[in-house]
Point group: D2
Chain length 436, copies 4
């Protein structure tokens, strides 16, 4: 019966470990998420060559600064794509992704406002839409196998269209920088700059910018100054502090210094203010969803102004019960977003909560920007749960009944006091018992 | 039967609403928590007069800067106390109160490191000990009926010695500043400065300083500059950033720039560094435990350096599960401490957790101090859960198996994907149903 | 200056410790929450006598069984009230109070479905409405000073109409049962039964029935059989199990065994089924909000069927993330309701979450009732997140990719594994260090 | 340059998606977790044949009833193993795995007391120890690729000895029942019973028994009676209820009806009692860690008695703060255990908390067992936070100050009341605004 076991062992191993992974034989036309950089340009050609597939590129504008989309499109066309699409998704990004994050005071790991994590499900959603429109059977992205972005993109694609397959050439090919350049030169793909790798791996959009890799990987070396391309170094920021008033309506920022602005413009102006004052630098160690720790350097000039302002206003209009409870939901929201679980129903449940909790978060907070810090210094709201006459230490005590305090303290602390006595007695007995 | 109802209504109203409130007739000797200021000096005399009681004063040194204890004792003696005690409790405060707070990353309302809240149960514990030693039947404190401190002190006294009674003259007498001064002058109590009230109500110790009241009560006026007596204004801080390395062992700070220091000295030196660089200014609205909101301005130069350093180190040595879960316990710890429930058994349970979670929190974090901000810029630990070769985007992938990613993503997102499809289908049906 | 201190001490003590307590001189017309029992009948007369006030009685029907409202009204009229009102609030109670509790799987202390806690804010709301309509300045209730109900009623009255004052004669008068009966007889108030106190203190409505006091206070005596007036003793329940199918729509029960029913009728029928089978008996120790522990015996035949059915259905249509996270919000919901904080905005935020989480909770659960237990035995939903072909251990594996498992396990457990090794190494070092 | 791409595509795909997966070429001697059943017997032979490897079997006694270990060992020997080991691990299992679970009131999904989840890390730990002792390079287990057990076993093996590799033949070979029997017969492996598959997939130990698969997979069919092999059907249980008193010390059960027992014996006797009375049947839908839902039928007669008793005692000695907070940690504990993260440091942190919280959980709880239900009916503890004189509704009020209540209610509800008014005003404005 040796045959049976042999037969078993000869069964082809299942190559695909995920239901959404493309089988090479079935790849006909690929929607490639294309940035115009070396990685995705090499990838473009590689897909054409390896799969004999047609390629449509999609480039999504989420407010990453200083990109020339014409150049990107031109590059794709030169490489022989079937079509090269650019989508300005800034409004949708601000409204449907950043705004809920503000209501949720969303920070992962204490300092990361999730800009990339918020952008990925939108990019992937657009990829699905344009893949369908252009008759693609496969989506390709440039994420490695070690990061969070592969999770975010593949989760969204497989959620929105389980028929679409995914390929992730970087995860598969294991080319290094040098091999990529050799490949690029061999195939007439233009290579910017020299053969030297850029010092850091960058991602950015209107809600922030991250740098990873290179010198940053030495956790014990202070943040390298050459990381900062967005935010002015605090030491070079203006010598005068600047106050900016951020106005909110139902938890969403709507004015800067009194001027009503669309959300994209407001976030962009807040970013400019923050950049000027060196605000929003974060250097933190973080837990990736795939189990690795990573050190990230973030530049988040807009978030560093908007989020603390929002939180301070929220504290003013919310009760102690609301203020003390919401954090658990904020942390979960941030986790789901970070982990690529944007379409998880729990996120919708949390959003329902966040919308309710933000219903009265209307008012204004003044933020003081100065050489690297942004701090709330004043706040007001028509719905403030604050009554100066109640709070005052002055003679008149307003409505507050100080005579109520002893009764409150008596009952509020009753059980803790009893428990302490019982515990003290128990430990006395314990000691006596031991002593005998 | 009219008599019955009359009899009922003639029953003496229960004067005391708390079991620990002193009955005026039973007050013989009072342990007064004495600061040497106007409030407690008037109180000293008032207790002698109103109750015909003897007074012992207790003054506790928790590192509040620039106090001359001899002057305080002299003042008490001049006012005819039976005894005037000063206790240097800085070591005990640092070791048994501040150190657990550091392990718990304890902040209330996002910015308050709880210095007063941590000090009160210690002060009250010392009050109980010295009241017993000096034969006092009653403890007196100078807290108002609107604040948290009455809760903290009375809870601890009634916990540790239910036989001891408490009086809180300020809560009872309702004298204003002016009445106090009239009273003081009439009884030969020295009044520092003019009759004008000090602009703010202050409390401080080695872990921070708070200002409340006066101009601060106008929430919408930017933090007044004259509040700051401890921390240099950021605009006047040195033009050069300074790096300081904070070393921890099992979660407790033990070195500054490599120098081993006792905890009190370490916290005092950290405070000096912070003060010089304008670090640790917090202006926040906060929920008092008695139901009021209050605006506080804090100066916490030591906490602003130690706490972020501790948290960053913790992120480096703890797993994602530990990092994401601990916050809920930190918030509860901070709440219990803030609410005066120091002796609540839950605090002990939380401390057991915190001690376990800090077992490997050993290492060093470099903090960059500059014109108002203190931020982590480097970190190292012998127990770091970080492996550069794993995390690197470079060619070699170390032990990390990128091939594992598709399988991970497949199963990690499986249910969320199914749920989204079911939800989409349900809402399609819903729409169709509505359309009919 | 002895005069000053004397003057201080002569100030009338603040009699009222709560802003909503009625000043005896200002009580003109009182809305009394009236059950028709001895307590509230004595109270009725006492209020007339002590305050010289007019009384309007309000009796609210929340589905407490076997009450004859005509008798209650007659009794009030005989005692000389200005008006005697009975309101059937069962529909409102079921729809606006019990239904949200079902969506929140609301249980306090593990076993109490909060029937009284849910009823009190509604009763208090009706008290406010009728007090206004009838020109009353004060609301009176019969709660003691040791329970939760005083908190629930006074919180709601003071929330909805801060002008209305409250009196709580039982808290004030301290009459015992015997004094009440003497008082009743003296004033011609009819006393049912003998002078013996009823063995237990009871409250009930359509969502359950509680018994406290008397023999129940001996925690170590098994539940006395004579407590049970609602639910059949399990030993006397039918020998045949019965299956009942509960149908839900968006989290709310809508059918029993396929028959569509209004919520009141559905709950009443479920209660009947449960009563017959001895279902819904709970004997638990519980933490009152005023700091005491109490032992309660509950009879909750409807809740014991509906709540487990709801929870089981929810598990079927919700994701693992939803299922694991919702409990924290359920517990908070139950706490707020229990604590009398029905109008707390956090409850509204939680309800927004609960509504979202229940959006697909549509389907049917079969409950098996038998001699004291009610357990789910079958469940179905058009939105079930269950795919038999995926879950099956059989040969065909459906869509589920078993090949994905090793990759999942690799990354899902990566950091925990690293951490264990580091921890083991650290403790080895520790041991070696100690050994030297 | 076509060669390059071809070269890339010709790179051998990474076969192993997990670092711990055995490479077939490196398998020399295998430690097989062996139950004696068909699956693992076929596996035994298949490993010998496919890998040409030597096999050592390990069988672990965790109290699964009615196994004859001699028969199991004999079977393994007949199949040509190098060694066949049986380990009685019941003491270790009870002490180090079940006892912490009791302190944590550990239930997953509301009803699963985690018996298998608790057993797997112990089995895997023993596998590692014996693999090392016997010179094995690989551990083999019989779990499928769809369940939780593969995660639990592989996580522990890879944690405790990263050098050891793992093979999971069932995940790989995809033999169905029939193929297994054909294979067995062809290789002289004894096949119990006929070729028919057993109706359910079973796992058990002294803490419970699970059945999955077969008719159970039809969620909407009532629990099939033929599942139950452990627990008497409630309808066939004795007609007389039985009371059993469970005594605890620091949270761990130590007596039954006053008799001191070792933990294993105590759990076994509790199981017998429960079995007799039909206690501990659970039929629930559950979220597996790999993303599937499953329906499980559990028989947990011991857990159904011990866990509710423990929880009731805990409520009696713990404060309201402890009682309301602990559940979040219990849920996390249960999740980590369920998910195979037994060695995750967070579990140790949680255990430190649980030990602290159980320090005073000493006392006795009487459970009433009757035809399928086990409910607490009496409880006592030397550390009870219960004072009958405080709680009583009778005349004397003991130490409890009812006069404290109004003050408590005033401040406890202050902010919620203010918030309601502000919210009402805001929504009035809103309505007026809309109306204009």
């Amino acid at each position: 019966m040796r045959d049976f076991a042999t037969a078993m062992s000869d069964r082809p191993p299942t190559q695909r470990t995920a239901s959404y992974e493309a089988d090479p034989e079935w790849v006909g036309r690929v929607l490639l998420l294309y940035s115009g950089g070396l990685d995705t340009s090499v990838m473009l050609h590689w897909i054409q060559e390896r799969y004999g597939a047609e390629v449509v590129t999609l480039t999504v504008d989420l407010g990453q600064p200083a990109e020339d989309w014409d150049v990107v499109v031109g590059k794709a066309r030169d490489l022989g794509v079937v079509d090269a699409i650019v989508v300005d998704a800034r409004e949708e990004f601000a409204r449907d992704y950043v705004s809920p994050a503000i209501k949720a005071n969303a920070l992962y790991g204490g300092g990361y406002p999730l800009f990339t994590a918020l952008g990925r499900p939108l990019i992937a959603k657009l990829a699905v839409e344009h893949a369908r429109a252009k008759g693609c059977d496969t989506v390709a992205h440039g994420c490695t196998g070690k990061g969070n972005d592969q999770v975010r993109i593949e989760a969204t694609v497989a959620t929105l269209d389980p028929e679409l397959k995914v390929i992730a050439p970087v995860r598969e090919w294991r080319m290094g920088r040098e091999e990529e350049i050799t490949y690029a030169r061999a195939h007439g793909i233009p290579v910017k700059g020299g053969t030297e790798a850029p010092p850091y791996s960058i991602d950015d959009n209107l809600w922030g910018r991250s740098s990873e890799g290179g010198a940053i990987e030495d956790l014990n070396a202070p943040t390298p100054d050459d990381v900062f391309r967005l935010v002015t170094l605090p030491t070079e920021a203006p010598d005068e502090p600047e106050l900016v008033r951020v106005g909110f309506e139902r938890g969403c920022p709507v004015t800067l210094d009194g001027a009503e602005l669309g959300l994209v413009e407001l976030l962009e102006r807040a970013a400019e203010l923050g950049m000027r004052h060196g605000v929003g630098i974060v250097d933190q160690v973080e837990d990736r969803i795939v189990g690795l720790k990573i050190r990230d350097v973030y530049e988040v000039p807009a978030a560093a102004i908007i989020l603390p302002a929002h939180r301070e206003l929220e504290k003013l209009v919310s009760t102690i019960h609301q203020n003390n409870f919401k954090r658990a939901l904020e942390d979960k929201w941030a986790y789901l977003c970070y982990a690529g679980l944007w379409h998880e129903p729990l996120r919708l449940d949390l959003d329902a909560y966040m919308d309710s909790a933000n219903q009265l978060v209307t008012g204004e907070v003044a933020m003081r920007l100065y050489k690297g810090s942004a701090t709330p210094v004043a706040r007001s709201s028509p719905h403030a749960l604050y009554d100066r006459s109640l709070a005052s230490f002055g003679e008149s005590e307003g409505e507050f009944s100080q005579a109520a305090s002893p009764g409150f303290i008596e009952l509020f602390t009753l059980q803790s006091r009893m428990a302490h006595r019982i515990r003290a007695r128990a430990s006395d007995h314990g000691r006596k018992g031991e002593g005998e």
